[in-house]
């Protein structure tokens, strides 16, 4: 149901940026609209850890003045954004949604991605809820509550970039940043019905981001539409010598192929992840088949492909992730264990009992899986694959969390580093979002956006709004 303020709050990033640029809409008006909406509704959803009401209005006023002054304007001029609270912003603490860092002093500097969004004209509106250190959760034993799904607050909104996904879906923000180590941008994007991109490993700098797993961590944009996401990645991508994994490769205009359609493209579909290796809920499987059929009708050549079993990727990813995470947290685990949430401890502690040979062998398998996957998709423009195997589950049902949290096909692409995007493809009978992933060869994000945009243009899922 549409309510006053919904129309402006749900305008796309592309549309708002254009209106601000041509003077139809002031940045202050837009920011105030979002602040009003957050004040009215976020009490139900807990997506923000910190709302910067005063500074966002000051910066929005400065953005409006810059327009009047004829100053050069960035592509995100006057546009508010949110940061998952493991990403640094100068003058603010980075809490990682944890008691461990809750009393940290404010950061001196922005993370590289924060700087890039500001340089493009973005205005920081707030720091967003996350699972503790991007690993635990959903947790009810932390200084802040977990974020809740705007489509149904009793349901899990995905994690670990929960607040970012919730705020974008709820119309509190047009864009937010998440991080993704085993799927944590794409999980909340899937559960909240928005678009989330994990670009190629090395495409987006991780400097100034609290690490979870050095070799698997990615930072990624979260938006309501594909074009918005491409625009945001334009601002984020680029080589950063301060990130040792940053790739020094050309950065294209990620919006350049939007609107070119899928006619003539070869698109693979990996069905065995969700119909053999791990049996998806029928409503998820049907939505994926419907999406594949639509891509075929739009002119793509769709071919079924096979890769290694999902468990081979998932186990390899998990061993690397928890080994690296344990190494990062070892000191605090020894000295301040009672300050962690139960779910964080449960997930990180296996890292204490993995051995050097377990870790090295996982890295060796990783290389084999990565090479094999890229050989398999060599002649394809993109690949469709499941995201979550189930619709969002009940947020405080421990049995469901234990059963369903790991039922996903996102981790393979943290392992291989390939770009992967979560895209809404429908709703289940309870009105909860469903999604698929589109994956491509390394540094082929523009092609992913092209395929996703063609699907999005032929469907209406992205126009549905949660009733807050």
């Amino acid at each position: 149901m549409s309510r006053p303020g919904d129309d402006l709050a749900y305008l796309s990033l592309v549309e708002v940026a254009a209106r601000i640029r041509n003077g139809e809409l002031s940045s202050v008006t837009y920011a105030q609209c979002l602040l009003d909406r957050i004040a009215a509704h976020d009490g139900q959803f807990d997506s923000f850890l910190r709302v910067l009401a005063e500074s966002v209005l000051q910066e929005a006023a400065a953005a409006d003045q810059a327009l009047l002054d004829g100053a050069p304007l960035g592509p995100l001029h006057g546009m508010p954004f949110g940061l998952k609270d493991i990403i640094d912003a100068a003058g603010l603490p980075t809490t990682a949604h944890s008691q461990i860092l809750a009393q940290q002093p404010p950061k001196q500097d922005d993370a590289a991605v924060t700087k890039r969004l500001r340089a493009a004209g973005g205005i920081l509106l707030g720091k967003m809820a996350t699972h503790e250190f991007a690993l635990g959760g959903p947790s009810f034993d932390l200084p802040w509550p977990p974020a809740r799904n705007p489509w149904n607050r009793e349901r899990f909104p995905g994690g670990s970039s929960s607040g970012s996904g919730v705020a974008v879906a709820a119309g509190f923000l047009p864009m937010a940043l998440g991080t993704d180590t085993g799927g944590s941008v794409r999980n909340p994007a899937t559960a909240c019905g928005i678009v989330g991109m994990k670009a190629t490993y090395g495409r987006v700098s991780r400097q100034g981001v609290v690490p979870l797993s050095y070799s698997l961590d990615h930072v990624g944009p979260m938006t309501r539409t594909v074009a918005d996401n491409a625009l945001m990645l334009n601002a984020l991508a680029g080589h950063d010598p301060a990130d040792p994994a940053s790739a020094d490769v050309p950065v294209p205009d990620f919006t350049a192929q939007l609107g070119q359609g899928v006619e003539g493209l070869r698109i693979g579909v990996i069905r065995h992840f969700h119909n053999r290796d791990m049996i998806a809920d029928p409503v998820v499987a049907k939505a994926i088949e419907d999406a594949v059929r639509l891509l075929d009708e739009l002119g793509a050549e769709v071919v079924e492909i096979e890769t290694e079993p999902l468990a081979a990727y998932s186990t390899c990813n998990r061993i690397i992730l928890v080994s690296e995470a344990y190494a990062i947290h070892r000191h605090w685990l020894a000295e301040r264990p009672d300050e962690y949430s139960a779910s964080f401890l449960e997930r990180v502690l296996p890292g204490a009992f993995l051995t050097a040979d377990d870790y090295v062998d996982a890295l060796r398998l990783r290389r084999r899986l990565t090479a094999g996957f890229n050989r398999t998709i060599r002649d394809l423009d993109g690949v469709v694959v499941a995201s979550s195997m189930d619709p969002p589950f009940v947020i405080d049902d421990a049995a469901e969390i234990a059963l369903k949290y790991s039922r996903q096909a996102r981790a393979p692409f943290n392992l291989t580093g390939n770009p992967a995007l979560s895209l809404p493809i429908g709703f289940d009978g309870d009105g909860l979002p469903l999604a698929m992933q589109i994956v491509a060869g390394n540094f082929q994000e523009a092609m992913i956006y092209r395929i996703a945009a063609a699907y999005e243009a032929a469907t209406e899922w992205h126009n549905r709004r949660p009733s807050l």
Binding site: G202, D248, P337, L349, R367
Partner: protein
């Protein structure tokens, strides 16, 4: 880890060696669950047998390209 079964005394000692004694004292079942989970995960890993198969590396001389 040689032999993937560990009796409670050995687990307690290992936890202390790792600096996790406080946690073990408070929640021994959590450490048991972590140990058993880790070893089960390691057993599921499809380990390459050819020693010439190298790991992927984070660091490469020219910034990962």
């Amino acid at each position: 880890m040689s032999g993937d079964k560990l009796d409670e005394m050995a687990l307690q000692q290992l936890a202390r060696q790792l600096g996790l004694g406080t946690l073990y004292d408070a929640q021994p079942q959590l450490l048991r669950q972590a140990y058993d989970g880790a070893r089960a995960m390691a057993q599921r890993l499809r380990r390459p047998e050819d020693i010439a198969e190298e790991p992927g590396h984070i660091f490469q001389a020219d910034n990962n390209v």
